[in-house]
């Protein structure tokens, strides 16, 4: 189980997460949703350890979580532009000889002999996804993995994620598109007002959209109607 207790994180004087608590069972897929700027990526960066926390404890299977347990795919993927996909993946293979990137590429069919700068956004995401899977770590964090990828790749990602779950990996996924999560997640949590507002399991996914957007809809409806009236 991943257990986060009283986690507070800030950027200078701006507190982004405030005494956040979150528990998620191992071997399942967990969706994390929230509006832009709600602190999703900050939470993931803190779990991974590249953002320092002000207070709080993060445990994984009752032990302090450390980087050797985590693979992390960030929202924006960056590569040296003038290296090839093959050169990029070979670097991961040098650390883990069992990682057969050619086999992985049978699934994604990327032009790995070409320079990465020639890749589309979706292709770069796929390359980064393969890289994130290079080492078999028990906790996999995927921040917006479906951003910028086509329908076929989305399906491939979902199939890979479901297969990883079967191999008892704990997976955290964020997305702005609820539908991309409801099909694969076992639980979903909403981050709001610097905390985890609620966590629901599969049986409650039907009503999650209403719970999230209830307030938002009433606020935005008023602004939209004002805007349209002004234009008239």
């Amino acid at each position: 189980m991943l257990k986060i207790e009283n986690l507070s994180v800030s950027y200078g004087n701006n507190t982004v997460l405030n005494t956040l608590n979150w528990k998620i069972p191992s071997g399942e897929i967990h969706g994390l949703v929230g509006l832009n700027g709600s602190g999703k990526t900050t939470l993931l960066n803190t779990i991974f350890g590249i953002k320092k926390r002000d207070t709080g404890v993060i445990l994984f299977n009752n032990l302090a979580l450390n980087k050797t347990n985590i693979s992390y795919l960030e929202t924006v993927n960056f590569f040296y532009p003038r290296i090839t996909g093959k050169e990029y993946l070979k670097l991961f293979q040098s650390k883990n000889p069992d990682f057969d990137f050619n086999n992985w590429n049978r699934l994604f069919e990327l032009p790995i002999e070409k320079l990465i700068e020639k890749y589309s956004t979706g292709m770069k995401k796929q390359l980064a996804f393969i890289g994130a899977l290079a080492a078999p770590k028990p906790l996999l964090i995927l921040d917006e993995p479906f951003n910028g990828v086509d329908l076929e790749t989305t399906q491939k990602f979902r199939n890979v994620i479901l297969a990883l779950k079967k191999s008892n990996r704990t997976i955290i996924i964020t997305s702005h598109i609820l539908e991309s999560l409801t099909g694969i997640c076992d639980t979903m949590s909403l981050i709001k007002d610097k905390k985890i507002a609620f966590r629901v399991d599969k049986t409650e996914f039907g009503g999650i959209e209403k719970r999230i957007f209830k307030q938002l809809d009433s606020d935005s409806e008023q602004i939209i109607s004002e805007l349209i009236n002004t234009k008239k």
Binding site: G49, I50, R82, E87, S94, K95, L115
Partner: protein, 315 residues
């Protein structure tokens, strides 16, 4: 429109200067003024002025042919030529200032004319792996060198070729070594993904030394050819060659330390050029000699501290 655009550029420049630090920038400019008599003492007045002008024109040429905003600028109703001339001349002010100070008016005229002509260049040099396959000669973990060589390896080849061609002049190879130091520093200023740091799974200290060793080895292999040629042709200056090699290796150590001292994933580290310039001045101005060593130690400590975020196993 042109004035507005130049005002935006000016604001960008002031932001860069404030990020680097006004005091450091002023220090570098003062250093440049102090070092100029030394450059002029290396050879005849004409040769020194020619060397400075050619170096500046060469730098403007490399920037003009690799700038990536040309497509963006096409969408603006702006006189691109005037913009490029303004930017390129502004960038060249320190060198042109030195030439004016030393009353090399004819050389200033030639340099300005060359910069104005270069500003009219519309072509962007892009070297693909297909035409520049030599990058594979660099080891896989020297991905900075591979990427950089594919991007602007032609300038490295040109530099070596020109230095070899004109090696009979005793100031040519030392000048080429200084430029090679800047080129190699540029290699370590590209933005680097977090995964490439974590991949090493080493402690910050060991990581830093592993990266430094690879970088120094590649630099030394390139520099050795030029320095051996220099020592062979100008045998009476062999100690100068050894001194150049030693300070170049120290400069390149600093380049790697400084890279990781300010490292943030995926962010370009172009601001480090000011520190590299500082350390080069430090070696060339006698009364500044403790400065490079202090900077070296400071950047090493900062790098170790900064790398702990990415390399320490404990979160």
């Amino acid at each position: 429109m042109l004035t507005q655009f130049l005002a935006i550029r000016l604001r960008q420049a002031t932001r860069i200067i404030s990020e680097i630090g006004l005091a450091r920038t002023i220090f570098v400019l003062i250093g440049l003024i102090l070092i100029s008599p030394k450059i002029f003492s290396l050879g005849s007045e004409f040769n020194s002025a020619l060397f400075l002008s050619v170096t500046q024109v060469f730098m403007v040429l490399s920037l003009q042919t690799t700038r990536r905003d040309k497509v963006f600028l096409q969408h603006l109703h702006i006189n691109k030529y005037k913009l490029f001339v303004c930017e390129n001349i502004t960038m060249s002010i320190p060198i042109l200032g030195i030439l004016l100070w030393h009353k090399n008016f004819a050389m200033v005229g030639c340099a300005v004319a060359a910069i104005a002509a270069i500003s009219a260049l519309r072509t962007t040099i892009k070297i693909s792996s297909g035409t520049f396959g030599g990058a594979a000669l660099f080891p896989a973990k020297a991905f900075e060198w591979r990427s950089s060589f594919r991007l602007n390896g032609i300038f490295l080849i040109l530099l070596i070729a020109l230095a070899t061609g004109f090696c009979s002049y005793d100031f040519v190879i030392p000048a080429a070594i200084v430029l090679l130091n800047f080129y190699s520093a540029g290699v370590q200023m590209q933005s680097e993904p977090r995964q490439f740091v974590e991949l090493y799974e080493l402690s910050p200290h060991r990581f830093l030394w592993a990266k430094t060793a690879t970088h120094l080895l590649i630099f030394a292999l390139i520099a050795f050819f030029l320095l051996a040629l220099f020592a062979f042709i100008h045998i009476h200056l062999i100690y100068a060659a050894l001194y150049l090699l030693t300070i170049s290796l120290l400069i390149q150590m600093f380049v790697v330390f400084q890279k990781y001292a300010v490292y943030t994933p995926n962010e370009s580290l172009q601001g480090n050029i000011i520190f590299v310039t500082l350390i080069i001045f430090g070696f060339l101005i006698p009364w500044l000699s403790p400065l490079p060593l202090l900077l070296l130690v400071r950047s090493y400590k900062k790098a170790v501290q900064n790398l702990k975020i990415y390399l320490d196993v404990e979160n």
